[in-house]
């Protein structure tokens, strides 16, 4: 049983069986307030899946990209939940979950054959007039989305130009499906692969300005 936790946009928690059956998926769309809801969402996801915490075997953590303050809440929660049960954390890039959902949907609706080699960009709001985007093309033999490029930032006004030159269709996402995050983790585990970074995908350095000489007060 895999618990998936992502707070890179809203807050999302899901439980998925190792073979991909979705047992529960709960979320809060609030782009702030991750710390407020995270505990309740985990409880709800377990309750709806009729599971006790001890039945969780892995915790999938959405590693971003996403606005830092919220993103950290889910990663911290994933790590301590796993620590509490003595089970591993499986890091997953948050955009992988969106890409997986899109690709599975295409496969189910028959559009997969035509679109399988189409490059597309998962695009999420990175705040400060920037978007985070990741380019994907199809599923690999392990059933995981193929990342053409790693996640990056682009100014809002430049994004369409960047995607056009990459020949990528734009797919905006305003939520991260935690069930798909957990499913990606399940497929990575089955394939014995590591698909996500160990640390948060911040994409930005902290805002800091080096102090200049003390301001003069007399003049």
């Amino acid at each position: 049983m895999i618990l998936g936790i992502d707070t890179s946009l809203g807050s999302a928690v899901a439980v998925v069986e190792p073979d991909g059956v979705i047992r529960s998926q709960v979320e809060s769309a609030d782009p702030r307030g991750h710390a407020e809801v995270i505990g309740t969402l985990i409880e709800q996801a377990l309750a709806e899946a009729s599971l006790s915490p001890s039945e969780i075997t892995h915790v999938a953590a959405g590693m971003g990209p996403g606005p830092f303050t919220g993103l950290r809440v889910g990663i911290a929660a994933a790590r301590t939940f796993a620590l509490g049960r003595g089970v591993p954390v499986v890091p997953v890039p948050s955009h992988d979950a969106v890409a997986l959902e899109l690709l599975i949907h295409d496969a189910l609706t028959g559009g997969y054959e035509e679109s399988s080699d189409e490059t597309f960009a998962v695009v999420t709001d990175a705040r400060r007039r920037e978007f985070a985007y990741t380019l994907y093309r199809g599923l690999d033999d392990d059933g995981l989305p193929v990342r053409v490029t790693e996640s990056a930032l682009a100014p809002r006004d430049d994004l369409d130009g960047v995607l056009a030159s990459a020949g990528a269709a734009r797919r905006d996402a305003d939520r991260i499906p935690a069930a798909m995050l957990a499913l990606a983790a399940a497929r990575a585990l089955a394939a014995g692969r590591t698909i996500g970074p160990a640390d948060a995908l911040y994409l930005r350095s902290p805002d800091v300005t080096l102090p200049h000489a003390p301001k003069r007060v007399n003049l």
Binding site: I5, T7, G33, H34, A35, E36, I38, G39, T40, I42, E43, L46, S52, P53, I56, F68, T69, R72, V73, G74, I75, A76, A77, A78, R79, T80, F81, A82, L83, G84, R85, D199, A200, Y202, P206, D207, V208, T209, L210, P211, P214, R216, V217, N218
Partner: protein
């Protein structure tokens, strides 16, 4: 849950220290601290985003280290405790998210508590000290806060008498150190420089200490005017081509800070008829502050208590200690319905207590 001697793990992430503490009843088992102070040094002060990133990295290893040191497992715990506020919002959220998930994962109760009251609770872990008596006045001084409290009961009745209107005392040390070309953190540097200086060399102002301030700000502090006065004094010497007597400036500045802290704390003791003063917070590491407080308190018949210095700086043990007291006094756990509250008032000792 063992209410007689609860085993509690406390998580503290309100500023730049990732603190994990484990206590059993009133016995300290581990006070594990990972500090990101070095990462802030080049910026001359705590950078919130840098601190929050460091918390995320340090949390799990710190929990593991605290468990190892204590010789207990997570399954042994009676409760998980976390700082809900006050502090830096983004930093607090890391601890809150971690504590909630740990509590749900372990199916153990969670207590969300007040950081400032935690500073007072640190005193309980001092095995060599006699029991804490009430009421007591508490002076908490650090880089993040400067507060004067009246503690009638640790778990039920803490009143804010006064606090800083601008910079925390520790911040003032950092800023004046920079002014004098000394590195961060400023406290120990100012101390070192002041050692050979004359504390009476320069009469720097005591903030909010005029008779006209006493009605509204009797127990409040202000250090930004002092910082400006130091800056002006230094500039004037430089403008006249004189060398700045760093030792005298440092000693006189430190004396101004210490004087106003101790004067107001003892005024609170006198006004409220409380012959007890508890000191807490990282700036208590300043030897001059401790010495002056003890000396002047003795002259007024006030007993001073100072927790071990390792428990004065921000730490998780004090959060676990406060929670242990809450549990022993029969308090119910918090619900999961709380967040990080960067301005949590000191009167809210526990947050979101379940009905």
């Amino acid at each position: 849950m063992n209410r007689a001697e609860p085993l509690v793990l406390g998580i503290e992430t309100s500023c730049d220290e990732t603190g994990i503490g484990i206590v059993r009843g009133r016995t300290l088992l581990s006070n594990t601290i990972a500090s990101s102070m070095d990462e802030h040094a080049r910026y001359g002060g705590v950078v919130p985003e840098v601190a929050a990133r460091a918390h995320l990295e340090a949390l799990q290893p710190s929990i593991e280290a605290a468990l190892a040191e204590s010789g207990v497992t997570l399954a042994d715990l009676d409760a998980v405790a976390v700082t809900s506020g006050p502090g830096l919002a983004g930093a607090l959220m890391v601890g809150v998210g971690a504590a909630k998930a740990l509590s749900v994962s372990l199916e153990k109760p969670l207590y969300a508590v007040n950081h400032l009251v935690g500073h007072i609770a640190a005193d309980i872990l001092d095995a060599d000290a006699p029991p804490l008596e009430y009421p007591t006045v508490a002076l908490l001084v650090s880089g993040g806060h400067t507060s004067l409290l009246l503690v009638r009961d640790l778990t039920t009745d803490v009143e804010l008498l006064g606090e800083t209107m601008d910079d925390a005392a520790g911040e003032a040390f950092d800023k004046v150190a920079r002014l004098l070309g000394l590195p961060y953190p400023g406290g120990p540097e100012i101390d070192r420089a002041a050692a050979s200086g004359d504390p009476k060399a320069i009469a720097f102002p005591r903030g909010l200490s005029r008779a006209s301030d006493m009605a509204k700000h009797r127990y409040d502090f202000s250090f930004s005017g002092l910082k400006t006065a130091v800056a002006r004094w230094v500039e004037q010497r430089e403008a006249q081509g004189e060398t700045v007597p760093v030792a005298d400036v440092a000693a006189s500045f430190r004396e101004a800070v210490v004087d106003v802290l101790v004067t107001k704390a003892l005024a609170a003791c006198r006004d409220h008829g409380v012959p007890r003063l508890l000191l807490g917070g990282g700036v208590i590491a300043n030897r001059r502050l401790r010495d002056v407080a003890i000396e002047r308190a003795a002259a007024e018949g006030v007993t001073v208590r100072i927790p071990p210095l390792s428990l004065c700086t921000d730490n998780g043990a004090m959060i676990a200690a406060l929670t242990s007291e809450l549990i022993m006094s029969g308090r119910a756990p918090s619900t999961l319905e709380f967040g990080a509250d960067s301005t949590l008032p000191v009167t809210e000792i526990q947050v979101a207590e379940s009905a």
